[in-house]
């Protein structure tokens, strides 16, 4: 069985998807990154291996997500691609008519505008991670609910309570005030969903031409409260695809397939054995010039596999060179 793997190592979750030769999803996994991108990539691969038959032939691997370069070195990626392109490619595979993709992940949120199957514009949150999954997680934890319960209770709201959405610090104090005034938790939770959506549309969606079909993905698409608030605010149907949480990984697996068909040199995949070895990461400050760059390095058995972080190429080393 031939399989193409896509690995999406995000700030909060690590996703791996495997596609067969017909681009059908045959395996996938979704894990919390927990600040350990290397270990979680290894663990994810281990799980994927268990789900696949013994005679599997990995024909191509590609990585995406904020740790895409790190993951690419560990796995031996044939292609490293940014999340925006990956998400668009996957969504177009399942919904070819899509014109708008809303993606809200753990630390970033994006909007991708597509016309006639081509990305024509995109936006991403800027210096602040307000209104992303991490904040929702934090608020759910503060209210002592898991995220499923949070999502359910938002739907049980009867009147919405207005929560300041500009900044999550303001939102949090606003929520506490409303809670202490005796508003129902359901209404506060839904009010927060609305604030998040407003914040998203006013920042990430600023000046973007949002047209249906609108596809919503990323981990936050699990949250029915946000889906409902988006639907109300945009007055349009919001499509949430099955496997929306692994769309980035699916997209980059599709790109790996395309890449291997175009350049048939055999995959650089280092094999499932990499789940068992111990990688070592460290960093140091370069003293060669006043820039004082922070150089990060990844090594295996005392041998440096890759270094990055410098403004010049004094230390840069990738596995290919």
């Amino acid at each position: 069985m031939k399989v193409y793997l896509g690995v999406d190592v995000g700030s909060v979750t690590t996703k791996i998807a495997g596609l067969d030769e017909n681009d059908e999803l045959v395996t996938h996994t979704y894990l919390p990154t927990q600040g350990k991108p290397i270990e979680m990539t290894q663990l994810g691969l281990k799980q994927i291996k268990q789900q696949l038959p013994e005679d599997v032939d990995i024909c191509g691997v590609a990585t995406t997500g904020s740790a895409r370069y790190l993951a690419g070195v560990i796995i031996g990626a044939d292609l490293v691609k940014n999340e925006i392109t990956s998400h668009a490619v996957a969504t177009l595979q399942y919904t070819p008519q899509v014109q708008t993709i809303i993606e809200i992940g753990g630390q970033d949120s994006k909007i991708i505008i597509i016309r006639d199957g081509i990305i024509t514009d995109f936006g991403m949150n800027t210096v602040c991670a307000a209104g992303t999954g991490s904040f929702l997680d934090h608020q759910a934890a503060r209210l002592d609910m898991n995220i499923e319960e949070f999502s359910q209770r938002a739907l049980d709201s009867s009147t919405s309570v207005r929560i300041a959405g500009r900044c999550t610090v303001f939102a949090e104090s606003d929520m506490i005030h409303k809670q202490q005034m005796g508003h129902r938790i359901e209404d506060i939770v839904y009010g927060l969903c609305q604030a998040l959506v407003r914040n998203y549309l006013n920042n990430v969606g600023l000046g973007k031409d949002i047209k249906p079909p609108i596809v919503f993905q990323g981990g936050v698409a699990f949250n029915q409260g946000i889906v409902k608030a988006l639907q109300e605010e945009l007055d349009a149907e919001i499509i949430v695809l099955p496997h929306h949480e692994v769309m980035g990984a699916i997209g980059v697996a599709l790109l790996a397939h395309e890449e291997m068909v175009n350049n048939n040199n055999g995959s650089k995949f280092r094999g499932f054995g990499i789940s068992e070895v111990k990688y070592h990461t460290s960093s140091f400050e370069c003293k060669a010039c006043p820039n004082q760059c922070e150089i990060a390095q990844l090594s295996l058995d005392g041998q440096v596999l890759a270094r990055w972080g410098g403004r010049c190429d004094r230390w840069e080393r990738s596995p290919s060179s």
Binding site: K81, N82, D108, I118, D121, F122, L206, G207, Q292
Partner: protein
């Protein structure tokens, strides 16, 4: 008297040449680095922009090295920058550097003669002839630096071995810094430009053309914009930037007073969307998008976080009829490139796919 000043790109080179020729003690602080940033952030009001914080860091570092008279770009009617020199002086006094003087220097405000008068004071009343000659060597160095940089912007996009142009560029900057007379400078300039042009190019390269505009300081200080031009070069993009210090100096010191306004075209282009100067460089940012929409594949718009003029520009840009993709990058205290690289890569992908689609439609 020991002179110090903040960094912005390579501007320290012409100033160093100018002051050394006049036998003024010039203190060269380290180019902006993470320590500069930490110092600046620690001692600045939180809501100020990255240009304030980094330049304050530079001034503190110059003070630590013994500078007592600091020059800080200034001027009225532009933005909060008009208050930076005096605010920074106050902060330095509060830090215990009581005898530090920060002199606000506004090119467009003092004009050529005012600037020369400041130099005369700083140089302990040196004769005019020496001041003019020192000023000229500074300008020559500035012009040489910018000419070379323009070539580097082109070569980075097409070089076969990535990083070759940067290595030569670093050598060229050093050679210009060390050159002492016009002949050597001319030789260094033409020599390096020839070498740069001879770098092996990728025969398949068809670079995308991306304009870069936005706020003055973050455009010209690579530390503040995480070296965005170099990163674009690595992605095979040719960067076009209107703003070069040499050009800007030529106009604000000489040609503007003759009634020649290099911005007239840009302002006119912006008029349907923004009728007046709104401070900073916001008017120009809008104008550049409109003016170059046909010529560029895309535009990168750099803005310091909390910069009012650029935020206004950012909000106007999506609505202009002359449309090219614009990516606004907010520059703040971040020192990792990951987030910016994701956006740049996606932006370049978008431009590439658009170009391919345009191409397919044509045939």
């Amino acid at each position: 008297m020991r002179i110090g000043m903040p960094h912005m790109g390579n501007t320290y080179i012409p100033f160093k040449a100018l002051f050394q020729r006049l036998n003024v003690d010039f203190v060269l602080s380290p180019i902006s680095n993470r320590r500069t940033l930490s110092l600046g952030v620690r001692h600045s009001p939180e809501g100020l922009c990255i240009p304030f914080k980094l330049t304050l860091g530079n001034l503190i570092e110059a003070t630590e090295l013994g500078a007592d008279t600091l020059l800080m770009p200034s001027g009225y009617g532009i933005c909060r920058l008009g208050y930076y020199a005096m605010t920074q002086e106050q902060i330095l006094h509060d830090l215990g550097y009581n005898n530090i003087k920060v002199i606000g220097v506004g090119f467009s405000e003092h004009k050529l003669f005012g600037l020369l008068k400041i130099i005369k004071q700083l140089s302990n009343n040196a004769p005019w002839i020496r001041i003019i000659s020192a000023f000229r060597i500074g300008l020559t160095k500035l012009n040489a630096l910018d000419k070379i940089e323009r070539v580097v912007q082109k070569i980075r996009a097409v070089e076969l071995v990535k990083g070759t142009a940067n290595k030569l560029y670093a050598k060229a900057v050093k050679a210009i810094d060390e050159a002492d007379d016009y002949n050597t400078l001319k030789k260094v300039e033409t020599g390096y430009i020839n070498q740069l042009k001879q770098i092996d190019k990728n025969p398949q390269a068809q670079p995308l053309i991306v304009g870069i505009t936005g706020e003055f300081y973050v455009l010209l200080e690579p530390f503040s914009n995480l070296d965005v031009e170099n990163e674009l070069g690595k992605l095979g993009v040719e960067v076009r930037r209107r703003l070069f210090i040499s050009g800007w100096t030529k106009f604000s010191l000489f040609l503007n007073s003759l009634g020649i306004n290099e911005m007239a075209k840009i302002h006119k282009a912006a008029l349907p969307y923004l009728k007046r100067d709104i401070g900073g460089d916001g008017w120009e940012s809008v104008g550049e998008k409109v003016l170059h929409a046909k010529e560029y594949d895309g535009l990168i718009h750099l803005a310091p976080f909390t910069c009012m003029p650029e935020i206004v520009a950012q909000n106007i840009m999506p609505s202009t009829k002359e449309n090219i993709p614009v990516l606004t990058i907010l520059c703040d205290e971040q020192t990792t490139k990951t987030g910016m690289l994701t956006r740049l890569e996606a932006f370049v992908d978008l431009l590439e796919r658009k170009r391919r689609a345009r191409h397919n439609n044509r045939y």
